[in-house]
């Protein structure tokens, strides 16, 4: 057990509005799959809103981009759910029926102090960082994961990319 939890953000551009035929299969499995996530070992928290199942009504970055965000006790816990849970793996298999392939990274993972719940700004910030600089300790992917910080080290700043960008003289543009 480390003093860190793993946060995850996914963004996706759906092939149609949430009430369209093309998205019907996706919308139908949101609630059952979210229920499986809630009951999965190592699950801590997920982003929800009051207007639709899961976070499907939230559009924090662009009106045509859906987000999905959660916190897990470890990378293995999240990996087990994403890739080894039957209904979730099945949804992953069918994702191209529902979502456009994005040219840029659509998933980012990062470590947060246990107990902290990430805000959407923090999450989009990490995605920015990943897209600009590739995987690193502050923002990474399943394929190129990084270990949580060792205890005794200074905590990771929430606005990591703002800090890194300020240092390198770049500005953070949000699409």
């Amino acid at each position: 057990m480390t003093g860190y939890h793993l946060a995850q953000l996914n963004v996706g551009r759906p092939r149609g509005p949430v009430d369209s035929t093309v998205m019907a299969g996706f919308m139908a499995q949101i609630e059952p799959v979210n229920a499986l996530a809630d009951a999965a070992p190592g699950f801590v928290w997920r982003l929800q809103d009051g207007d639709g199942p899961g976070a499907t009504a939230l559009r924090p970055c662009r009106p045509d981009i859906m987000v999905n965000m959660s916190v897990w006790q470890s990378l293995e816990a999240l990996r087990d759910f994403v890739y080894r849970n039957g209904p979730h793996l099945d949804a992953m298999r069918l994702r191209r029926e529902w979502f456009h392939k994005m040219a840029e990274q659509h998933l980012v993972l990062w470590w947060i102090p246990a107990g902290h719940l990430p805000g959407i700004d923090e999450a989009l910030d990490r995605l920015d960082l990943l897209r600009r600089g590739g995987p690193g300790p502050l923002a990474f992917t399943f394929r190129e994961p990084y270990d949580p910080p060792l205890s005794g080290q200074p905590p990771i700043p929430e606005r990591a990319s703002a800090m890194v960008m300020a240092r390198s003289g770049m500005s953070v543009a949000r699409s």
């Binding site: 080894r84 793996l89 992953m92 298999r93 029926e97 392939k101």
Partner: protein, 224 residues
């Protein structure tokens, strides 16, 4: 490759081969006695060959007390032999299809062409199913299916009314690209069912640790 070749050469002995087939088809690590009985050979001979398999890394050794007792007087723990996740591949002359497969899978992933891959897999599976059907048209559906799955390296075993698959033929690739390769595998197996005219059975994703991600479930309940 030369080390893989010497590992595989250990299987050249027919007794070892039958012990290997038995051990790797089980869902638990087996004792010498169990393996000897299943393969119809003497226990000391089985022990000798099982240890050769273990030395080569083809099976994994664990020790466990089978009596349930512990402490002094509980006896020596039994030596058990089970499946190992290690894989060995030999090609003569040298070929490296796995590196090519990893590159191609990576590109399909980048392109987001999963659906095209699934379509291609489904028709490949159907072709394999049709040719299997010609070979065993008079076998029952379940036997024909189990035969086909065994033929393709899945190591099928019954699990109640379902058929589960002990081995993933695409293991290394599937661990690297799970949705892509498990989706491809499911499409292959759906195609196989179609092509072979097997009815009353549906393939679906239900991953279990160390096994193939697909289960064949009986869909009899849905038939009228």
């Amino acid at each position: 490759m030369s080390s893989d070749l010497s590992v595989i050469a250990v299987l050249g002995d027919p007794v070892r081969r039958s012990l290997y087939d038995f051990v790797t088809a089980q869902d638990h690590a087996v004792s010498r006695g169990e393996a000897a009985e299943a393969t119809g050979i003497q226990r000391p001979l089985a022990a000798f060959h099982l240890d050769r398999l273990a030395e080569a890394g083809l099976v994994e050794v664990t020790f466990r007390r089978t009596t349930g007792r512990s402490g002094p007087g509980a006896g020596r723990p039994a030596k058990l032999y089970g499946r190992t996740p290690a894989e060995h591949q030999v090609s003569v002359p040298p070929r490296d299809y796995r590196a090519a497969a990893e590159l191609l899978a990576g590109v399909v992933d980048v392109l987001g062409s999963e659906q095209e891959l699934q379509r291609a897999a489904r028709s490949r599976g159907a072709a394999a199913g049709r040719s299997a059907l010609r070979g065993a048209a008079d076998a029952g559906h379940r036997d024909r299916l189990t035969g086909m799955l065994a033929e393709q390296g899945y190591r099928p075993y019954p699990d109640g009314p379902d058929i589960r698959l002990r081995n993933c033929p695409f293991h290394a690739l599937a661990s690297r690209y799970p949705p892509l390769i498990c989706g491809m595998n499911l499409a292959l197996l759906e195609g196989l069912l179609d092509g072979a005219g097997v009815t009353g059975v549906a393939a679906r994703l239900d991953p279990r640790p160390g096994e193939c991600c697909v289960v064949m479930t009986s869909s009899k309940n849905n038939e009228h």
